[in-house]
């Protein structure tokens, strides 16, 4: 990911060379002052703005990916439940064929 840090620092350098780029690129809304009692640091502000797009995209993709994974997982979960139910029924009917939980099937 070194190239990423490099690209970022190049981007913020480009912004600093031409403040107009900053205005156009980021559709900046100017405000007379930020009501902060700390000095946030110019470089820290600009870095956050420069990284905002890529972090937000990665974040959004990951959120969707998590949803997709959860959806698949919900499928996976349904099956063992059915298996357990069947096993419970089996043992209730006096079958001696000891059922194994889904996690135990590979256990030596």
């Amino acid at each position: 990911m070194a190239p990423f840090a490099f690209v970022l620092s190049r981007a913020s350098a480009a912004i600093s060379r031409s403040p107009r780029t900053l205005v156009v690129l980021l559709a900046v809304l100017f405000s007379p002052h930020a009501h902060a009692y700390l000095d946030p640091g110019t470089g820290s502000y600009i870095l956050q703005l420069a990284a905002a797009g890529i972090l937000a995209s990665m974040f959004t993709i990951r959120m969707y990916w998590t949803k997709v994974k959860d959806w698949f997982r919900s499928f996976g979960k349904a099956k063992p439940e059915i298996a357990e139910k069947a096993a419970a029924e089996k043992s209730a009917t006096g079958n001696n064929d000891t059922p194994r939980g889904p996690g135990e099937s590979q256990a030596g």
Binding site: S12, P19, L25, A34, L38, P40, Q48, L49, L55, F59
Partner: protein, 466 residues
Amino acid sequence: MSPVLPPEPASASFRDPSGFMFREGGVWLRQVNERYRADYELLFSSGLYAELVAAKRLIAHEELPPREGAWKVLRPEQIGTVSYPYEWSFSQLKDAALVTLEIQAAALAKGMSLKDATAYNIQFVGGRPVLIDTLSFERLEEGRPWVAYRQFCQHFLAPLALMAKTDIRLSQLSRVHIDGVPLDLAVALLPWTTRLNFGLGLHLHAHAASQKKHGGGSDTPAALPAKSAAFSKTAFLATIDSLQSAVKGLDWQPAGTEWADYYERNNNYGDSGLQEKERAVGAMLDALAPKSVWDLGANTGRMSRLAAARGANVVAWDIDPACVEANWRQVVRAGETNVLPLLQDLTNPSGGIGWAGEERMSVAARGPVDVVMALGLIHHLAISNNVPLDRIAAFFASLGRAVILEFVPKEDSQVAKLLATREDIFPTYNRAGFEAAAARYFDVEAAVDIPGTCRTLYRLRTRKPA
């Protein structure tokens, strides 16, 4: 009628115009100024206060009757010994960082944001890191980047990365740089490979580069935009999420350091000797019934827990980062609420630092406590560090109203080891010499030989200065 004098703010409480801490009748109170009214009301109306207090993330408080000159006066839950980031183990700093980010994420969800992210706003209360600055929240201004981003990186991410990737002892940089480790210094000390780590590459390396570019001179835009459409709420959440990943990705394992396996390999105490020592210390604790205890040279806190089991709030100080780390992990694992492990070099204890040398308190200024425990410690101070016995006695007397001290004589194998490679310049280092030194500051209430060893345990009552 005499005018009502405004309260004197605490020495560390002057930066934020929203209010300040002050002490009244031995109780810490917080004044809230009129200018903070809107944010304070939002903290409650949004439900954020209730949520964070229920989750034990934010210190609880009650409002006191109104007073002249103050919009509100709060009485926060009182905390035990205050501690500072340069006294925390790796995992303590990491847990404090994660709690700060968790609070920020919760605040964002309620339309608020942390306006500062200093490690000094976190204290360990009841075995957990807790935000103690109720006035840290402000209304979220959509489009404005995190005002405390730089501070978070300097106070948390940079020292954590340095401790994990360079050397654990770099936690002490926070003692020199009171507003956190400057990022240009951090990246100069970090291994080059940390650039390849996405979180560290962005939040430390690129961040430092951006600070350098825009640190002043012609490159700096005259007017910094306070808001930008690019910094959406998703971008804000993503920034916090990215910081969380960066912090979670850092780890440090306490292996092979000075004292961490002390009890396992120590040859002066077999199992029975250790039990005898615990019995003797326990009996002395029972006699003193302390509410507050500082265990100096606590190792991983085995003896500290004798005091904790008797209901005392215990700080377990030790010089070894591995011991403090192991001890903190034990606190977390067992959910202990009254043991606080802290890092401390007693030969060079934390001094008063910051503005006027008063912003962060020295160790002594945070005392005295009911009982100081100094077990298996005195030979390290007297022999390894050449401190005369009467100075050791004077220092302990300044820290505790009573002291439980284990005297380790020259016959002990641990002391013999210390003397093996050096000239013995300690003719008075013996029981009689110690008792003579102690007599200036203490009344000796009990002296018990620990069976199976040549060590003696003393129960000393600090005499009030004449």
